[in-house]
Subunit: 399 residues, 2 copies
């Protein structure tokens, strides 16, 4: 068995090829990853622009005049605006271009206006309330680098530069296959009490979706060699990553581990010194990957996060979406094995720090998916770590 | 003008009525908020279940026998399984029910099996590798409380209890109206250099979507009283919250602030001692709300986060999605006004703490939306705060 650290290195070295991109409407870009640098094609603003409601004037006039004649009105977006000259001002509104000749905006609150004249009550500094050319950005500036995930701010900036179409990274396609003759699909009636309701397929589908992938739900396949073989082959032809659950342990009906090599796939690794999920397997066929996870609900979810998520991230040109962060143990932790352990914990944020505790978390088998509910995270305890004291700084994967 | 704190209290007291729910397929539940407690309708597992591959046996036999006869095979999901008696074991796999009479599973690795017999190499404790009834949860246990946002773990747990349909909170409907004769929509050709490309509509639409609301994009309306009136009325008839940008300041063309009361809406507050966004206005007509934000891109985005987001949260029975967290200032901060200031900053997480700096952030008008790109957050500096020293613990809104 290889170590957790080695397995992570091997994932980071898998040849995912160059980024594949597509062009989408801005309305479909939310949550996608940019496949191009977004570059400003002009200064913004392109002209000096008023930042307040007031009167555009020449600053030198403060020394010469106590009152200025109002030449007219300059609403935002106006076509033609008169010029300002000494002794004259133009009423100018937030967002309006500053009239030719003016250099300063005196706000409404700083003057007394009557009968076509403003009396200056309180002068302002040179250039007051004028947005200079390029205040927000300059032509040719990289506004948003390639590889950025698009959220509301990127949408706004893209709209502001009139980008209707955006080049984004294609969603990696991930097929999910659940194996096991005991698995009963959602909505199906049970035939006997030994059947187990499927949850893996749906947990992992939700993870694929949350991570920005496109999920192909391949369904459940029983412990039948040719059926498994067919389903895997179909999935490989349809997707970039095939994720399966079950069939990788040491049981007589664990066929997946034998079938994957028969599909012409090269096994990259099989078996990692981690808990849960020691039997997982990563294989490659051409440009496609197969990641076979254990069948227990907690194990398959954790190993998906450890292996599939970073691979999907790499295919999208993103950092690992589940990069560990540091937190402080609120309580002692008893190590249970000589493996790298990934333990469900509660993560809270108080006094400027993240804290870890295990209140309400059950110990037991790796079947307990409910441990991942709530503000759950995975605490990492290294292969060489022993028991940990209260107050220890630990690494956690925020879910 | 009221204080920021008062304005937040007023938002928290707006009468949003009781939660409205709907039933959706599990496949549509991701990201939605549960409108029901999810309660287990049976113990899980319902029967003692094997957690490993091995041989089901009676623990007392360790004292009596060195070898046990293998009675047969018990694959997971099997219909009928024989019973275990003294001196006998049954090969049992991960996920299989424990056969009648057995109490312990000895793993494959702990025995030598040949010719229908296992020789015990290494005994295990009583109950080893047996998942007891109710290991994951008990009948009638609340697995997921009402008000929880559904992510991958909730999807898996819901699938595991065979929930095809789930009751979730309805998405609040939010209409967006951008006002201003200078606003040029995305894709439109400019008629003059004074026009400003629309970004507010799209930034706020993305925020509504990210927060789990349903957005109605009402488009841009010029500074024309009857046109504004009609668009607001249509939006009020169509949605729970009408969000507008522009038209609330002190300019001659700022019509929104005059029109909202004419729509029969009661103004809850107008003007808050904050920067940016001091002119924003919150009003109510029947069960509907109007939130009128300033027109500048940074101002409208920040005030949406301060006022619309918590109101949407309340309508969904959620906590404020943008609850401030604590971070440490990496550099000194110079306060610019006697208002509560919301300053765009960079938020990083190092050494177990969040840190705030302003590298690359531009000072200037409230038009600079690009300040919200990157790992941006909003640093809150209170009305009564002065300049802040490096190392100060500050509150930030993570975006």
């Amino acid at each position: 068995m290889i170590s957790y650290e080695t397995s992570q290195n091997m994932i980071s070295l898998l040849p995912v090829g160059s980024l594949r991109s597509e062009r989408v409407f801005l309305s479909d870009a939310l949550g996608r990853v940019l496949a191009e640098d977004i570059i400003a094609d002009e200064d913004y603003p392109t002209h000096p622009t008023s930042a307040m409601d007031g009167y555009a004037m020449i600053h030198a006039d403060f020394a010469e005049y106590k009152a200025l004649a109002i030449l007219g009105d300059n609403p935002a977006g106006a076509d033609e605006v008169a010029s300002v000259e000494n002794g004259i001002c133009i009423k100018t509104f937030t967002g309006s271009l500053m009239p030719e000749g003016s250099d300063t905006l005196i706000p409404i609150e700083n003057v007394t206006a009557k009968e076509g004249v403003i009396v200056i009550d309180k002068p302002v500094a040179h250039g007051f309330a004028v947005r200079p050319i390029g205040e927000s950005y300059r032509k040719d500036e990289v506004l948003i680098p390639c590889g950025t995930t698009v959220t509301f701010a990127q949408i706004g900036v893209l709209a502001g530069i009139n980008r209707v179409m955006v080049r984004v990274v294609q969603r990696p396609r991930v097929s999910i296959i659940a194996t096991g003759s005991e698995i009963l699909d959602i909505g199906e009636s049970a035939r006997n009490v030994g059947q187990i309701r499927s949850s893996n397929s749906y947990t992992l589908q939700a993870l694929v979706t949350q991570l920005g992938g496109e999920c192909l739900q391949m369904g459940i396949v029983g412990d039948d060699k040719s059926a498994i073989m067919e389903r895997f082959d179909e999935a490989l032809r349809s997707s970039d990553i095939v994720v399966s659950t079950g069939g990788v342990s040491v049981g007589d009906y664990d066929f997946v581990k034998h079938i994957v090599p028969k599909l012409g796939a090269e096994v990259i690794f099989k078996g990692v010194n981690i808990k849960p999920g020691q039997h997982d397997m990563v294989a490659q066929r051409g440009s496609k990957f197969i990641i076979s996870l254990p069948g227990f609900a907690y194990s398959s979810t954790v190993t998906f996060i450890l292996y599939v998520a970073p691979l999907m991230g790499r295919m999208m040109g993103r950092a690992n979406p589940y990069e560990p962060i540091e937190a402080t143990l609120k309580v002692p932790f008893a190590k249970r094995s000589n493996k790298s352990e990934f333990t469900a914990c509660n993560l809270s944020f108080e006094d400027g720090r993240y804290w870890v505790d295990f209140e309400g978390k059950k110990t037991g088998s790796s079947a307990i998916l409910t441990n991942l509910l709530g503000n759950a995270a995975l605490m990492i305890c290294g292969e060489d770590d022993g028991d940990l004291e209260e107050g220890t700084l630990v690494r956690v994967i925020k879910l």
